[in-house]
Amino acid sequence: MNVRRISAREFFESWTMKVGVTFLAILVVMSIFVIIVYPADFGKRVWSNPMYWADNPKLVPPAWITLLTGEKLPEHTIFKLKEPAEAYWLRDAYVLEYRVDFNYDYDDYYSFIHVLVRNITFYSSQPPRIEIYFSRPDGLMVKLTSFTVRGPSSMEEPPYQRYVDSPKRIILSEDVAAMTNLLDSLNEKYNITLSFSDILLIGTEKLFFGYPLEDRFNVLKGRYGVYIMAYFPNEPGNVEEIRLILGGKVFGLLGTDMLGRDLMAGLLYGLPVSLMIGFLAAILITSIGVSLGIMSGYLGGKVDVVIQRSSDILVNMPLLPILIFFTFILREFDARLILIILVLTAFSWPGLAIITRPIVMQMKSSQFIEAAISCGASSRWIMFKHILPNLAPFVLAQSIFTVPSAILAEAALSFLGLGDPTLPTWGQMLEYGFRSGAIYLGHWWIVIPPGLLIVLTAFIFVLIAFGMEPIVSPRLKRR
């Protein structure tokens, strides 16, 4: 192995290097963005919290799938209403009227309809009442459902506030009153006799956006309206926000999983985590492996024997079973991810120590080391000021190889269910998709992207490592 110093120009000579470094730079920039934007406890508070994802459609593919299939699938739509369309007095009640009109031009039904009411304030002892109306292109106008906000208790003083911390969620597509009312109007208009149990079989969402035609439901295209009225008896009140959520059959760039989680959010979060695993493991493995390799090669004697014997034994252990054993037995350890990195380091350094040793031994007999010894340099000085800098390019190339293997090892452990539950990683997302049977049902968007990202990230480092090979061993360049 020929070891020498390298210049920056030589470093970027191969195209694998250029491509690798460019992509790595992109990944690093994205990671920094994610670290800045995401909350620190994303895993616990957001990702593993089903309430956070309650208004997302479950198990739907990405939105761009419609471009491939040609079928127009409803996209996930959220209307946020801050201000009422109209506010007026109706007899002795103050009315806030919210309106949403939207055009329906899809070939499929929305998967659900939610109405969210957030932070309603009233002053009268008589609580406000909310009514929801629905109008369809075929002229039907149905009062879907209504409810009265919980009134004030004897202890409370006005203003009374409700639904401040968590909004009131009306799931119209599962609301019995809404479906009964809608069913009655449909039966009357289309002259059919559908019962409630029929609807549960057909699918409740078809009641809203479909019309019966020859024993089956068809999509009714056109202009729809949802009207939400808030009646405040005696004194005016106000509502901070009302949301109408139409659950899509497709969602965002990467779809959702069975909890309705936006996979894009999870995949982005996994990026800095993966890079951290790779870099941290590489730094630890390289520093331990190379220091011990240098000591073994330069000091010789008993130190050499101990290091070589122990690395011989460690390097011959089957890595994955050993990793599984340790992460499983120590699973109650708090920071599982750090544990994985430490275990990985403990069993991966010997490879580097073994290949560093002969290079150091060769260097030991060279003249510049002899010169340093004759100047009275200490062993430690020689090892870390003379030998280490000369090993640098070789060490760098080797350590880059450990980055993808660390990332892949963590992903493998996560896939076996040994990942850190507080930190969502790509491997864990894959495991979740696999365990819930996504692959047998063809839910490719849950399992393909995380795997692809793992492969891509690992591949970028492999590219860089391969790009360094001709620099480290220049003989290959002649061809």
Binding site: L320, A412, L416, G451, F459, R479
Partner: protein, 350 residues
């Protein structure tokens, strides 16, 4: 011959030492974390349950029975060494792991319905060996063949193309490839079964059963070959390229030897041992890859057992599996080591 024997002996001894090292590491970790106590207590409780039953038949008086059980409990606990701290029992623990004497599992059963750790594992060994060896042999032969071909045609389009494919396959995790193959060939094309080793129920007669296994192994085998072959191609190409640039090869060409002869005798013959070393080193990866491949395809081997053991928290099964994987790994390494020595004349004629 003595030189060969000595070299081989040194390698084998250092490999054999791995087993006690792994055992010691495991026993210490289990002791420190208190897991070994947990395992022994559950074994002691099992024995106690049986003793209770037989005592209940012999002794009628409830008070006397209570006292007798208490006395038995103490005796049983001390026979398992539970009255002393864990480090007094470390050799006992090592022996237990080594002989798979780790008690019974709670949920997971063997195919025949047994709860014994050793029985559950033993019946799965052949399935794992089948899954590890067949793709390994297939991919290494194919990989070395392709690597040799393209190394002798460096710089051509084919060489570049295959090399880049090889680099990509270097970063492919087997489990993900398996998932992609399942979705593509299993879900969309419905060509191959996606899980298990047999149809349910398995065919009665032997030839049909063999065909059934082959049909079920197409996807897992394909997965492992795809993952492994890139490494073989790339390393073979590198080794041959390195050797082709040696001075003696140039001398051989300068002497006017035919290109075929130079390749066969001066390049490929010399390249064989390092290529074999590579295959030996690749065994770790393929054993690990097989664990995940088994999990993805529900292959009834030891790898998918790992996954089930992790999910149902069967500690004793995981300990036993780690140990048996170490044993199989060492054994395979020794076999390949012997192969290596017989192949490399420099080692043989020392």
């Amino acid at each position: 011959m003595s030189g060969m024997r000595k070299a081989l002996l040194v390698r084998i001894i250092s490999l054999v030492l791995v087993a006690p090292a792994v055992l010691a590491l495991m026993a210490i970790t289990l002791g420190l974390t208190g897991v070994s106590d947990r395992i022994l207590i559950s074994m002691a409780e099992q024995t106690l349950q049986e003793v209770k039953k037989s005592l209940a038949i012999q002794i009628r008086d409830p008070k006397a029975l209570e006292a007798a059980i208490e006395a038995q409990k103490e005796a049983i606990y001390s026979s398992y060494g539970l009255d002393k701290p864990w480090f007094y029992r470390i050799f006992q623990m090592i022996a237990r792991i080594a002989f798979f004497d780790l008690g019974r599992t709670r949920i997971i059963k063997s195919f025949t319905g047994s709860h014994e750790v050793s029985q559950i594992i033993v019946e799965r060994i052949p399935n794992t060996i089948l899954l590890v060896t067949v793709p390994l042999i297939f991919s290494s032969i194919l990989g070395v063949w392709i690597g040799t071909k393209i190394a002798l045609r460096t710089g051509t389009f084919l060489d570049k193309f295959v090399s880049y494919l090889a680099i990509i396959s270097y970063a492919l995790p087997s489990w993900w490839v398996g998932i992609v193959l399942i979705i593509f060939f299993g879900f969309y094309l419905k060509l191959f079964p996606v899980s298990g080793m047999y149809s349910i129920p398995p065919p009665r007669d032997i030839p049909m059963r063999m065909l059934d296994i082959m049909w079920h192994s197409v996807l897992p085998f394909m997965t492992l070959v795809i993952v492994q072959i890139g490494g073989w191609i790339y390393s073979t190409r590198m080794i041959i390229l390195n050797i082709a640039q040696e001075d003696y090869v140039m001398v051989a060409r300068a002497k006017g030897l035919s290109e075929g002869l130079v390749r066969r005798r001066y390049i490929l013959r010399v390249a064989a041992p390092p290529i074999l070393t590579n295959i030996i080193l690749g065994l770790t990866g393929s054993l690990g890859g097989a664990i995940l491949t088994e999990t993805v395809f529900g292959w009834p081997g030891m790898g998918s057992l790992y996954y089930h053991a992790i999910i149902s928290l069967e500690e004793n099964l995981i300990i036993a599996l780690t140990y048996i994987y170490t044993l199989i790994y060492i054994l395979a390494r020794i076999i390949l080591e012997i192969l290596y020595v017989t192949l490399d004349p420099r080692v043989r004629y020392q």
